[in-house]
Symmetry: C2
Subunit: 190 residues, 2 copies
Amino acid sequence: MEALKARILAEGQNLGRGILKVDAFINHQVDPTMMLEVGKELAARFAAAGATKVLTAEISGIAPAVMTALALNVPVVYARKTKPVTMTAPVYVEAAPSHTKGVDTFLMVSPEFLEPGDRILIIDDFLASGQTIQALVRLVRHAGAELVGIGALIEKRFEGGREGLADLGVPVEALAVIKSMDAGEIVFEA
Amino acid sequence: MEALKARILAEGQNLGRGILKVDAFINHQVDPTMMLEVGKELAARFAAAGATKVLTAEISGIAPAVMTALALNVPVVYARKTKPVTMTAPVYVEAAPSHTKGVDTFLMVSPEFLEPGDRILIIDDFLASGQTIQALVRLVRHAGAELVGIGALIEKRFEGGREGLADLGVPVEALAVIKSMDAGEIVFEA
């Protein structure tokens, strides 16, 4: 998606050690019009998947996942990292190790909203090591739902997350694929 | 907003002690089409406010705030509760006491995205005690930006948050105003 790549080059910052700062339009401040276009593009790429629901993880997955679900006209569920007081019944829980924070994050989904028969499209802002997405995949399996695709705005190909998803046998799409962030640069796949 | 009230009556659950569960369409699972309509309605109610930016707090404020910002064609900023690795510079921080959790939550906004000259519309899912919104108001003041309005999807009038916002002198709008949740009911203001 050329508009997203152009935005990353214009406003993204390579902070070193593979960390890409996109706080200006994705992760802290959000450009809602760009996010609407991102959602339409992801929905188009997964048009054939027959998703009945979009699944993401709070926090920064919410905006792109909501826009993708809007374009697909299906509900979206965001896995919670902390248990709200309204989550009273047993939940599915999976751990997602975070290499940047050095601690595990726990992702929770209520069985009410992830059920056998659901066809799940996972959407997140980043596909990097793939740990968060792998945890979401395990939540889908716990629920007996079917995974039909995985989409991200930005892939850091050099972190290898895509390889870990290959065995799942579902399409994996990223709108901006970065192959290298060495030497302060941001280099996209052709 | 009658459609939202109808949805709350159909799918909301009064869990007692003033706790309203709306996990089915706002807080865990999100109905993106309803959220788009919510955003349009909030944008219409604040059309005269001249907002240049929408401000919310993660997590459940994100979806309605993004949709409101989309309708107003302005950026949206969500205050962070945890500091991401990309937030390297000094930030504005304010504490929001949570009466349901019994602990303080800290809300952080980068000065890059909240500046003097910004005209800020605060949007959140709930207006209850008003503590989260008050913390957002203080962040706006720290930045030297101007507050122009406060909007919420659901107001729990009986928690008194609105009274605490009266002195701010800005319009406060809620799309579904609940006056009582006694005896297992959900009773809206007329």
